[in-house]
């Protein structure tokens, strides 16, 4: 494809946010100072509950929202005061935001038209992008004549036609049904591999985040909870918030107290050896709990959900809820009281007050190399 001079022409760009803030007034702070660096060509997913500021953050990178403070660097160039068109970003919107009165081809070519690219070249590039996205037969249609998935593809085509250094996605899959969402996810991952633009993808869907991301940035009330690879986030959550947010069903969090040698549940059961004193939060994933006759920890079953491949057991342990996912094919005798073992290597310990993870509490490397690097 032919490069154009109006945007940053690298195949991908690195993005650096330095102390970026967004406030509407003194009381209404959406994003307190936030600093992250995104590597060139990386697919970053910003994940968080609704209202955590993730869309605002994306729009600040795009230039649709002004920053209240701090700097945004794209390719080492300060862009926070530039118009969107000078930043080399393109964006895919949640509701597609296609121009209803233009055909598919016109929709995709509009940014080139605004940039003053000659018609012959526009057509050539539209044809190229349409072929890549399987839209070649639909170029003369209007958006109203397309299905949801096709519209989404046009929106992506419109974004990539300028060959931007940065591709921004604002919950682009949330308007699609489950099957289509899965297909588009695979397509997006494939597309990212081929284009190689630095991509930032906002979502509240953890499955999208886990499957698409090189690294996930988890936001909570505008603060970065953790910024790491999907694997690291799953296996070594940096806080109770992350632990509860990732995984389905989410990680169990038990309130425990340490007496200097063991951690005990409120009802007195010892669950693990630990030298610390005071109150802690102990995390363990439902799928990591093993149910066996020799287990020392007792839990009472409240009810069970059979999902075919495995079962989810809702149990109660010292007045606290504990979910257990049984392994495939294992039948569990659900009389009333279960004997459990918490594998020591699978336990996560969090501070009782702050909820932050206590690394290497049980001798395992609870903090990976990359986590140290980016915090």
């Amino acid at each position: 494809m032919v490069a154009i001079g109006t945007t940053i022409r690298d195949a991908s760009a690195d993005i650096e946010l330095i102390g970026v803030t967004k406030t509407y007034d003194a009381k209404n702070v959406v994003i307190p100072p936030l600093s992250v660096a995104l590597r060139p060509g990386e697919f970053t997913v910003i994940l968080g509950p609704s209202g955590c500021g993730k869309s605002t953050l994306l729009q600040m990178i795009a230039g649709l929202e002004r920053v209240s403070g701090g700097k945004i660097l794209i390719c080492d160039r300060e862009v926070q005061d530039l118009e969107p068109k000078h930043r080399g970003c393109a964006m895919v919107f949640q509701n597609y935001a296609l121009y209803p009165h233009m055909t598919v081809a016109e929709n995709m070519a509009y940014s080139l038209k605004v940039a003053g690219i000659p018609k012959a070249e526009r057509n050539e590039r539209v044809a190229g992008v349409a072929k890549m996205l399987g839209l070649s037969d639909l170029l003369a249609r209007k958006p109203a004549q397309l299905s949801g998935g096709q519209r989404q593809r046009v929106a992506i085509g419109r974004a990539i036609i300028r060959e931007p250094g940065v591709l921004l996605f604002d919950e682009p899959l949330s308007n699609l049904d489950a099957q289509l969402r899965h297909d588009m996810r695979v397509e997006l991952a494939d597309l990212h591999r081929r284009i190689g633009a630095t991509s930032v993808f906002v979502t509240h869907d953890q499955v999208e985040a886990m499957t698409l991301a090189d690294r996930i940035l988890i936001l909570n009330k505008g603060r970065v909870e953790q910024f790491d690879t999907p694997k690291a986030i799953y296996h070594h959550p940096a806080s109770v918030f992350v632990a509860k947010f990732i995984g389905a069903p989410p990680m169990n969090i038990l309130q425990v107290t340490g007496d200097g040698s063991v951690l005990r549940l409120p009802d007195g059961q010892a669950v693990a050896n630990y030298s610390g004193k005071g109150s802690f939060q102990l995390g363990i994933r439902p799928e990591d709990i093993s149910v066996n006759a020799g287990g020392s920890i007792k839990a009472r079953i409240r009810y069970r959900e059979d999902l075919g491949s495995h079962e989810i057991l809702e149990t109660e342990i010292g007045c606290q809820q504990l979910r257990i996912a049984t392994p495939f094919g294992v039948e569990i005798d659900t009389t009333s009281v279960l004997s459990l073992t918490f594998p020591r290597g699978r336990l996560h310990l969090f501070d009782g007050e702050t909820g932050r993870a206590i690394p290497e509490a049980f001798g395992t490397a609870a903090t990976t190399q990359s986590m140290k690097e980016y915090q």
């Binding site: 230039g63 969107p84 964006m91 509701n95 121009y99 209803p100 009165h101 605004v114 419109r158």
Partner: protein, 305 residues
């Protein structure tokens, strides 16, 4: 739906017939009167039977009255009124909907207030302003005491005068200041996806390009509807053209029609000729409705919402 029943059918038909007679009756009377001669009317009073003098009456209107030039005036007034109203409403609705303006809510409320204060109520003050468009400025200068200050320094107070009475601008301008169009466009813009504006910005289009390339093509039918509605209301305006223009060559056709009735007492007006004039004057809006009925209906529906 009401069930089909004989009695209901009969009642409905009867009601419809009454309605049709009520509406079409006067129209028929207009046409039949227009087609009779003055003498016939003098002899028989109301003309219930059509005659053969329609074209003779019309040619009398065209050759002996100012109606043709007044129709041209009406055309100018209605057309510029429609055009200016569309442009002004479109732009103000664009500003209110798409930009973060500090007092947008209050501005919109003020614009809406013009719907509740039609020109018919404001006709005297409007006349005062039109007779000297600087009079508000003069009043402000007097009221704030600036004028006495100026009089002290320069010897005489400021008093500016410019009358727009008896001009086409003066006929059109007060009609344009009306909030219906802004309201109509605002409602329409709010139904468009919010991200369109952002998408256009990402594509490199500034506010003006977005307005021309995206908003205007999308609003085509709304613009057409508003154009038809304001054209018709401009054509049929009576009170303001009556007050705002005093020379026959500047008056509009509707006012001109009323003026065909002689002022002198005792003389019977030439009703066949006046009715022929009314038919002539109605032809333009009639053609407009016939051609653009689709937009007219859409406009009425939009402004109802």
């Amino acid at each position: 739906m009401v069930e089909k029943a004989r009695s209901i059918n009969i009642t409905a038909t009867l009601l419809l017939i009454i309605g049709i007679v009520y509406i079409v009756g006067p129209l028929y009377l207009t046409l039949s009167t227009a087609s009779q001669s003055y003498e016939y009317m003098l002899r028989n009073g109301l003309a219930w039977i059509p005659g053969g003098e329609l074209f003779a009456n019309m040619s009398k209107v065209i050759h002996e009255t100012r109606i043709p030039i007044q129709m041209l005036n009406s055309m100018t007034v209605a057309f510029s009124n429609a055009l200016a109203t569309c442009a002004l409403s479109f732009l103000s609705a664009y500003a209110i909907v798409y930009f973060r303006i500090r007092w947008a809510g209050i501005v919109f409320a003020l614009i809406l207030a013009t719907i509740m204060l039609p020109l018919d109520i404001r006709v005297i003050t409007t006349y005062q302003v039109a007779s000297n468009i600087f009079s508000p400025l003069n009043a402000v200068l007097d009221f704030t005491g600036l004028n006495s200050l100026i009089a002290d320094i320069f010897g005489t107070p400021v008093h500016l005068e410019l009358s727009v009475l008896d001009t086409r601008f003066g006929l059109v301008a007060p009609l344009v200041a009306h909030g219906t169009g802004t309201f109509l466009f605002r409602q329409f813009f709010l139904t468009l996806p919010k991200d369109l504006f952002k998408a256009a910005r990402m594509d490199g289009a500034g506010p003006i390009r977005f307005l021309i390339d995206i908003l205007l093509p999308l609003s085509r039918t709304s613009v057409a509807s508003l154009f038809v509605l304001t054209f018709l209301s401009g054509w049929t305006q009576y009170l303001w053209p009556l007050v705002g223009a005093s020379t026959p060559d500047m008056q509009t056709a509707v006012v001109g029609l009323a003026r065909l009735v002689p002022d002198a007492d005792g003389q019977v007006p030439d009703f066949p000729m006046i009715m022929a004039g009314a038919v002539l004057v109605s032809l333009v809006p009639l053609a407009m409705i016939a051609l653009l009925q689709r937009y007219l209906v859409q406009g009425l529906v939009l402004s109802e919402k």
